[in-house]
Symmetry: C2
Subunit: 445 residues, 2 copies
């Protein structure tokens, strides 16, 4: 048995280099697997090892007869998270979730835990598990969530890459506190100061004027003092931006994009969704067209459902949930009052009290996953908005250049990755949707 794997192949080329997720390629063959003990039990001369290798879990059955007394003793005595190297025959097994088990022929211990593994089979509190995040990641549930996260990120990239969008990274370190510093992380920058970005959009607009269709995809930061199940201080956001697109095109894009990532994830990550016991029915319904309602219609819905609201109110999580419950798929709320939205959103031609914007609310109470808008492309109007918002025109000089030279209608949106992962996986709190979550009171490990 070779301790080392060849990482340049996919785990289905060679039985010496197999991984559990590819085990069906090796039916009746002898494979070598590398991993950790997830559980062990023995009964007389036979032992049942649940082996995890990061790609899945498989039962390995070992007997004194097949591996000899010495190795059988080692097998029996191995404990949780013992690192092991095993070799054996892949056998079909209808009782197994993955359809196969391993008949052990050889077994070696790579390393034994130096202490008892702190995460046992018993229930642990979340505070404890968060302190042990570096180990908690190894649990089946966390592995399933994070594999789905990885798939959603691939889906996002494939969607845009396949439609002529170019990835254009916006900077993380930014010079201006565009909208007040209260929720910004600030760092000394040599003799100056810098702020961690809250959104790549403004830079994305400059990139769209250069490359036409672009997307920004990177970490963003909010130093918000909120402790809810929907907030992280560090989270990833994907932000497409398209030259020559209006708010209707923006809604078409958001809808097509969400359908793609949800349907692809169901298709490619069904096993992981099953581990999480995710009800797939509401996800299977996420197909175009999505309902599109005016902000004013959303206000009516609230009033009809015992949530008094009036024109000019912004919606919180409770309101979003009430509205989303009226529909069986994501709902797009468009044309909000100008007064409650960001300065860069385009004033509506017919009703200047509104802006051409859209929020997409996920079903099942997962809240807003997309905020988007057509951008104000008129120089005089955007200057006036900057003034109204009490912002410094000087700080936006380069941004105004995009209206000064070759201004065109353009639009885009931002999708919050972790909320999307929470929704698709069905986990209640965003803290489980990123490998190392950062929250207001949590920056360890």
């Amino acid at each position: 048995m070779n301790l080392f794997r060849n990482a340049t192949d996919s785990g289905k080329e060679s039985p010496d280099n197999a991984t559990i997720d590819q085990i069906s390629h090796f039916d009746q063959k002898t494979v070598t697997l590398r991993g950790w003990v997830s559980s062990i039990r023995s009964s007389g001369k036979i032992a049942f090892l649940q082996l995890r290798d990061g790609t899945g879990i498989i039962q390995c059955v070992g007997s004194i007869q097949d591996i000899g007394e010495e190795k059988f003793e080692k097998l029996k005595s191995s404990t949780l998270e013992t690192a092991v190297l095993v070799s054996g025959e892949v056998k079909k097994d209808t009782r197994s979730k993955i359809g196969f088990e391993i008949g052990l022929k050889d077994f070696e211990i790579v390393s034994r835990p130096l202490e008892e593994y702190p995460i046992g089979k018993k229930e642990h509190g979340v505070a404890f598990l968060m302190e042990q995040r570096h180990l908690w990641l190894r649990s089946s549930r966390q592995v399933a969530i994070l594999r789905i996260r990885s798939e959603i990120i691939r889906a996002i990239r494939d969607y845009f890459d396949g439609r002529g969008f170019y990835l254009m990274d916006s900077p993380i370190l930014t010079p201006n506190s565009c909208e007040g510093t209260s929720t910004l992380f600030e760092t000394p920058y040599f003799d100056d100061k810098a702020y961690l970005t809250q959104s790549g959009q403004l830079y994305g607009e400059a990139s769209a004027m250069a490359l036409g269709k672009i997307y920004v995809f990177g970490p963003t930061f909010r130093a918000e003092k909120s402790k809810t199940r929907r907030h992280l201080t560090e989270f990833w956001m994907v932000e497409p931006e398209v030259a020559f697109m209006d708010i209707n095109g923006d809604m078409d894009l958001a809808e097509d994009f969400i359908e793609y990532i949800v349907q692809r994830t169901i298709k490619n990550r069904r096993a992981e969704l099953e581990i999480l016991e995710r009800d797939l029915t509401p996800l299977e319904r996420v197909k175009k067209p999505f309902p599109r309602i005016l902000y004013s219609e959303a206000v009516d819905i609230l009033n009809k459902n015992n949530k008094p609201a009036k024109f000019g109110d912004d919606f919180g999580g409770d309101e979003e949930t009430v509205i989303s419950q009226q529909f069986d798929r994501p709902v797009m709320i468009h044309h909000y009052p100008k007064a409650i939205k960001a300065f860069y959103m385009k004033e509506n031609d017919k009703d200047p009290t509104l802006v051409n914007c859209v929020d997409v609310i996920a079903p099942e109470g997962y809240g807003e996953i997309i905020g988007g808008s057509q951008r104000e492309d008129d120089m005089e109007k955007i200057k006036a908005r900057i003034k109204e918002h009490g912002l410094s025109e000087d700080a936006f000089k380069w941004y105004l250049d995009l209206r000064r030279f070759g201004s065109v209608p353009h639009a885009g949106f931002g999708l919050g990755l972790e909320r999307t992962v929470a929704w698709i996986t069905g986990v209640p709190h965003v803290r489980e949707t990123i490998p190392f979550p950062r929250l207001m009171e949590k920056i360890f490990p």
Copy 2:
């Protein structure tokens, strides 16, 4: 002519929604294009517009006869970066670089520049262009570089995604100053402090113990006071990490990976490499196997080439260039002295003065693009190294847990994205390889 595009298709489905890079799909058809004036000249009753749309540049030929006097006057009088909407017939043209031109049938101005566009045809200094980065991005050269960057990022992701690696984002905000604070950006974090990550590796190791084969891909930060053509304060790094891999597997992976991204970029981005006048010969040679030399052999090479060196010296840019000039493809230098390398690198079994590490040096003077190593998996040895380096064991408690519970041999590397883009595109300075570069004295726009 419809001003707006449909961003959900790829630009080759519909002639009303065409893009220049897909123009060959519409030979002899009438298309609508949306873009900006890159240059214009006229001669009597005929005008030649070079139109850029972010995906390419195409010549559009317009005459009074075809578009009428009024539109012809508008066409003739349009200036650099005027936003326009055009419609016309796609015609084969052998003199054109892209093989086609447009016979204009219709022309509209979307917006005229409010002032003269600051970047003209004349030469500008780099300092000026850097101040205008948001506009400089529109030049053919910058578009070509950034399209290649986008392709390299796709290639990196496709390489790992196709081989069973999971993307696992490491955090940007980190609690400890693991290796001294002198080159770290620091930010207040509520009642605490946080530092911007310099590498996702340590967290990547935790992720590899959970998922087997993973990669981290995100921005990293160094507050280094160096002004060289190879340094940015904010740059992107991709860091694969593999459980059950040793230094030899690590070198195999690095070699296979580099060959893949270089050969794929040549194949998919030939037009852009031609715009940059990149000599493809040295890139075409980037095929396995790469030369692998011991650190001690590298010292010999330096001494033979009038660069006196001795065991224990670290190599700077000049030394890297001398070594790389001895070979016709990237060179892998392995097994450096332990004393000059990071605490987490695995001590060599046969010679404890060395560590199992590798640096990959790009050809043509582009310097180190990969630094990698097998990681120390022995608890007592890594504790001793932490002590030797004057680091706090307490700060590494969670990291040591990876040795405490299920320790296995593991290895990985980090590839710097911007240096790789500089090498492949052949641009001399990394500042052009990222949309909005951050340097010691540069955080605008």
